[in-house]
Amino acid sequence: MTTPRRYPGQAAAPGSAAGLIYQADAADPGTTEHAARPAVGAAGAAATPAQVEAAFAAVAADRRALAARLRAAGRTDEADIIAVAALIAADGVLVGAAVAATAAGGDAAAAVREAAEAQAAAIEAIPNPELAERGADVRQVAAAVLDHLAGGQRDRPTGPVILVRRDVAAADLIELAEDGLVGAASVAGGASSHAAIVARGLGIPLITGVDQAVLAEPPGSLAILAGDAGELVIGPAGGQWLAAREKFAIRSNAAPRGRCGQAGPSRTADGQDVVILCNVASAAETRRGLAAGAAGVGLLRTEIPFTGRSDWPSKSQHLAQLTPILGLLGGRVATVRLLDFSGDKIPPFLRDAAGPRPGAGLAALLGHPAALADQLQAVLAAGRDADLAILIPMVGSLDEVASVREQLERATAGAGARTPRLGIMVELAATAASAEAFAPAVDFFSIGTNDLAGDVLGLGRLSLDAGPRLAAEPRVLALIEHVAAAAADAGIPVSVCGDAAADPVVLPLLVGLGVRTFSVPAAYVERVRAWLAALDADECAALAAKSVTASTISDVQDLARHARDS
């Protein structure tokens, strides 16, 4: 048996999947960086200048048509992203360079690659970060042109596939999502790429920054993608793959049938009201969550587009991210978390200062009052019509809460806006343990189960095997119980916005501990609603009481299985 190959990468879209490797760059001449050498054996190398021009035009037309289809389906954000690719494919500078190089007697494929590389490099040198990010889109357009020159579409993959490509494009994800795509891994790109935004909206896990050796992996290989842990494992043991396939199938991207657009209040089987919100970082996710019946946004991750930036985002950059999302919400709940530059989301400009200490990102934000003021002003402006709440990440002290509250009051007065509710993420063990001290100072608690479990259990990164289920560890459950009790005593709401709320084993335990508000990834809203509708709150309470005093996580899982089967 061969050893599985492990490819670490950055988590760009959450979730996990088991599938078969699909190599979309099979026509690429090799794995060397932007090879200038002729594409040996690659079809299309002998194309004429007219064919090159026609290939660009075909890609532009193809993207325009896809954008129109998406727009007609109300998927405006994805349509806007794809429309940009159409404009790039029609850019005279890019097309002209490729056509001229081909006419000068060059190898057509090399001419397209070199023209794209020159244009991408020029774009990336621009000191406008948003424009610089589009360099990747230029390369993706060139890859589509090369596909076209090589004779159009290769065989479409079937079954559950994990797309592997040098530079995964938003269009790849949208097109393959209809063919059973369950995950994707990209050598290039980052969390703010168009592909990442679309992947999060589609609920497809994506990791980026994977070593390019992955491009040489045999197509059709078994693979497990752990999007949250940021790892692609190729060639796991068959049994392990099947187990993962079964485990992740329930969380797979396939849209649940017959429930779309279900709205109205959510209830448990015994009629207890529960609230389901969604976790989002883009308008696409928000639209998906709302369409699935989410009552609003329980966690808006504001740092996602900025994790690659070289400075604090400006007010207008915040507005550019927030306005399309909050504009979808009307008067619904909009819980906006302040920039959470922590863990694997520390941008270059904070890397030296922040270090690995949890909460360092918040300390840095509080240390830059102008950056915090910019964000608060943008949130107040963009969230004017929503039921707005501000969430502070990684809170470790009351001073931090007081400091944000003071700035929030100043921003609110300046904007003439209503004061939004101010809550904290309870995700550090020490904060959870002293929840009763924080409760009087805040308007709500939101429990971040991933980080809380990691902190309690002393894990830097969640393991592939356990994931969100670690929240079922008795020590973690005991802390959640303590936080819920402190919230009840103080009369403030408590919600869970960690991925554990979207885990079928942990969800009943959370209900049993008294949590009634859940914020889950947009793609899981309908599933969580269905699970909750099948739960009995009293039975959950009994299960939770036993689980808190259990000794290990497997005891808890046994209890849960027993409760479900009885």
Partner: protein
Amino acid sequence: MDAAFFRAWLAEAAAVVESQRDHLTQLDAAIGDADHGINLARGFGAVTAALEQASTPSPGSVLTLAGSTLISKVGGAAGPLYGMAFRQAGKSLGSKPRADLHDLADALEAALAGVQKLGAAREGEKTMVDALAPAVSALGKAIAEGAPAGAALAALADAAAAGAQATISMQALKGRASYLGPRSVGHEDPGAASTALILRALRDVGARGEAT
């Protein structure tokens, strides 16, 4: 309008572009590579220097020399586009020692055609065409209505300014700014803004009574 008038226009344009250099650069920073003001100021500075050194007996020769200088001194897309505009205008004026308003209108029409051909741009795509095209139309209309030179040039400059303002609400469909998709909406196009400035300079030189 003789060669001295056109030299005065370019000197005025150089001064206006220099004074608005940072503003143009800020506009470009929002949707481009933040060098439009710097590049253009350098280019028009070079035009002024070239006109001081070379002999330019006719309006046509003034504009042709300006165009050639801009092409060689201004980087990015702006150099070739402005260069093409001035060269086409110069070619249209030929070697006549004086140009009247009709000649000027024809020259600006030729400039517009050159820019549109080189950039493959139409109105509404958030480019300098959105300032130049309405300006050319306004000048033609003013002449047809028998407006005096000062009023005709004012109509030209006003239409250019309004056209540049109108690019704020447009989405860029040409050039690198188009890569921003809908995010390019809300910013004035720097090329349209500089075109409006250059045509404002033409109006101001005319208002000094030199457009006879």
